[in-house]
């Protein structure tokens, strides 16, 4: 088994008296899609925010490539090579695809923007991800479809030699064909050796594209299973009840949390 690139052990997080995350263990492996699933309020967002450095952690360790690290803010996460694509995409509608992909990291020459170079690199990046749905990288983002926007947001995240990408509900607002495009892209990212974390409510997406599934139940990891060994029903049970058959939380733990 390969070494996880990002390894989280025994993470605890409380907001005042509310204990949101209990001893969460969470690993991301290079070349794999790890789905992070759980009901609303299970702690998915909090976990992601802890990793991003937006929320501090109370206890537990975060290791990156085997070394323990302390991620204090989003820039530290980006510096390690962890990128986050949030649901609201964070694209500027009035800029074109190239400008968005290089936003905050523009290439300059003689102190002025080198748009030609950025355009070339943006096209290369999209081509390397086999994105074929964009007819021009100089299109304004406002004119793109939901799937294209999601594609650009993901491509922007992986442009910077990132090693782990967190995708928050990337297919939530998309139609069938566009969901297809994005899922293909997610799979290709993993095939290129990135560690991909897919946060999703859609079991079809999870079963199709993920290699392993980590189910959170009321702030605890209910189970970590491989998609090839499990079924949608099983995962849904893990999400809703914290246990399914002989896997998942012990009955008294699951009930106690309620």
């Amino acid at each position: 088994m390969t070494q996880p690139i990002l390894e989280i052990k025994g993470l605890n997080k409380s907001f005042g008296p509310v204990h949101v995350l209990h001893d969460v263990d969470f690993n991301v492996y290079p070349g794999e899609v790890t789905a992070l699933v759980g009901d609303n309020g299970a702690g998915k967002s909090t976990l992601v925010k802890c990793i991003a450095g937006i929320n501090s952690i109370d206890s537990g360790t975060v290791s990156w490539e085997g070394k323990e690290v302390h991620i204090s803010d989003p820039r530290a996460a980006a510096a390690l090579g962890i990128e986050f694509v949030y649901q609201d995409l964070a694209l500027a509608d009035n800029l074109d695809i190239t400008q968005n992909m290089f936003l905050g990291r523009e290439i300059r020459r003689f102190g002025f923007l080198n748009d030609g170079e950025m355009e070339r690199k943006a096209r290369e990046a999209l081509a390397s991800l086999s994105v074929r749905t964009v007819s021009s990288v100089r299109q304004v983002v406002a004119n793109l479809s939901g799937g294209q926007r999601q594609t650009v947001a993901i491509a922007k995240a992986v442009l910077w030699n990132s090693k782990v990408v967190f995708l928050d509900e990337p297919t939530a607002a998309l139609g069938v064909a566009q969901t297809r495009q994005v899922l293909d892209l997610v799979r290709r990212l993993a095939d290129q050796g990135l560690g991909v974390v897919l946060i999703s409510h859609n079991m079809n997406d999870v079963m199709e594209v993920a290699d392993r599934v980590i189910a959170l139940y009321l702030g605890r990891v209910a189970a970590e299973v491989f998609t090839k060994d499990s079924s949608t029903t099983q995962i849904v049970e893990l999400i809703t009840a914290g246990r399914s058959g002989n896997i998942g939380l012990a009955a008294h733990t699951a009930n106690q949390s309620i």
């Binding site: 964070a90 509608d93 009035n94 002025f112 030609g116 070339r120 964009v134 007819s135 021009s136």
Partner: protein, 487 residues
């Protein structure tokens, strides 16, 4: 094992979808087709037409508006298209153009600066008082406290500017401060430099209140709109100051470049523009990047060159009906705003700061997540806007011949906002060009000019017609945005 079968039919259904979309894609020659293909002039024009139809009309509506108004006023009075009248237009509109140019920075952020007009008046009044009293440091008659307050405020704004990383703004304040302390403001040119420094200082403070404290810019600048009108009275000690005796200041809105220099200006600006766009297009084509078709670049450049050359030829003829002395050459009131527009355009489109300004105006959250210091961008935009407003105030005083007690008050700011909007700048942020300010100012100023030539059309028509033009411009803007959303 039965579990494993469950997802399979689903998979099947989705992969047929994939096959279908792949087939669709195969019909297109390559991905990024639009970027690489060479386009003939006709295709380029079709592309331009499509751009107009899908909600990016560019300068077209405002230029069409200008032409329509020109045609109407040519019917109203035969003098309208006369050389003397056209030659007066820049002087009448320069202050609107320059204030509007500054406002573009603020409007791009989706903010507003209601105080730009009265700020210009205040800065001009300090400059005028400096000249008259041989340096403000010798005390402003009637308000002894004003100099120490001004000094302290400017020093504080230098510190704040550095703290908020608005270094260029802080540098302008420092220059103003040096002029102030050295007493150089008894000289006209230095006095105007100081007034721009004061403007930058105010801009930093407004930016601080908006971006750091979080007061809506509408409220902050409304407060200053009122306050500066009072400061003007303090600075002038209740007496208007005529500036016609100071030839440099008077010349801003009233003098012309010599015919030879007018040609140099036209050739440098138009030639530089054509050369740049042409080289850019050729190089981009060679490197396989997106570019405008070379024919389109040539047609566009040619049109601009023809217009510019015709204007220069006409401007270089004597337009003074009085044989005593000649009035000829391009007015400074045209060449200075155009030069400023070029600088602003380069700053906005070719620098990181400009790119970040657009991003902040389009989606501040996205900009923040991309690591952009949004506070810095906001503060420096207000500093740029206010510095230009101060310069606009100087042009206004030059045009009216004096620093009046109500300089910059009244409709002036609203005309400047209208100019930017008529030109195509969006009030909601993220969309606009410095060019808009210049064209819009021309539209704004042509209305009172044209109506003024027909005494039988009294002044009350002016505001009504200006209002209607603004309404039409806003309607064009709203409709084109609706189109771009629905497309």
């Amino acid at each position: 094992m039965t579990d494993n079968n469950a997802p399979t039919p689903n998979d099947g259904a989705q992969s047929t979808g994939a096959v279908k979309s792949d087939a669709d894609l195969a019909n297109r020659s390559t991905s990024f087709a639009l970027d690489i293909e060479h386009r003939s002039l006709q295709q380029a024009l079709t592309g331009y037409w499509n751009k107009i139809r899908t909600g990016d009309p560019g300068a077209l509506p405002s230029i069409l508006g200008l032409v329509v108004l020109g045609v109407i006023f040519a019917q109203v009075s035969s003098r309208f298209l006369g050389k003397a009248n056209i030659g007066n237009l820049p002087g009448q509109g320069a202050y609107i153009a320059i204030i509007a140019l500054g406002l573009v920075f603020v409007l791009l952020l989706g903010e507003i600066d209601l105080s730009a007009g009265t700020l210009g008046g205040m800065c001009a009044s300090f400059a005028a008082q400096g000249i008259v009293s041989h340096g403000i440091k010798h005390g402003i008659p009637g308000s002894n406290l004003l100099f120490p307050i001004l000094l302290a405020a400017m020093i504080a704004m230098v510190v704040m500017g550095i703290w908020l990383k608005t270094y260029l703004g802080a540098a302008m304040v420092v220059i103003g401060l040096i002029v102030l302390v050295a007493g150089l403001d008894q000289h006209v040119i230095f006095a105007l430099v100081m007034s721009v420094g004061i403007g930058a200082a105010v801009g930093i403070f407004v930016g601080f209140l908006v971006a750091k404290i979080g007061i809506p810019s509408f409220i902050v600048t409304l407060a200053f709109f009122l306050a500066w009108q009072g400061v003007v009275l303090f600075a002038l000690n209740g007496n208007p100051i005529g500036i016609n005796n100071y030839s440099f200041w008077h010349g801003l809105a009233n003098d012309n470049m010599s015919p030879a220099w007018s040609w140099v200006f036209t050739i440098v600006v138009v030639g530089g523009y054509i050369l740049y766009t042409l080289l850019h297009s050729i190089r981009a084509q060679a490197r396989g990047l997106a570019h405008d078709a070379i024919q389109l670049v040539l047609v566009r450049g040619g049109l601009i060159a023809i217009v510019a050359i015709v204007i220069t030829i006409l401007a270089n003829q004597n337009r003074n009906p009085n044989p005593q002395f000649k009035i000829q050459g391009l007015p400074w009131a045209a060449t200075i705003p155009i030069s400023l527009m070029i600088v602003c355009t380069i700053v906005l489109t070719k620098t990181t700061w400009g790119r970040h300004l657009f991003a902040t105006g389009g989606n501040a959250e996205a900009a923040r997540r991309a690591g952009i210091d949004v506070v810095h961008i906001r503060v420096s935009a207000f500093a740029a806007s206010s510095a230009l407003a101060a310069l606009g105030g100087a042009f206004l005083a030059s045009q009216t011949g004096s620093v009046a007690l109500d300089l910059g008050a009244g409709n002036i700011l609203l005309f400047a906002v209208a100019a930017a909007v008529i030109g195509g700048t969006s009030l909601f942020g993220g969309r606009g060009k410095p060019r808009d300010a210049i064209i819009g100012a021309l539209v704004i100023v042509i209305i009172p000019n044209g109506l003024g030539l027909r005494p039988s059309l009294p002044a009350q028509y002016q505001n009504v017609i200006t209002g209607l033009v603004l309404l039409v411009a806003a309607a064009v803007d709203a409709l084109s945005r609706r189109r771009s959303r629905s497309s």
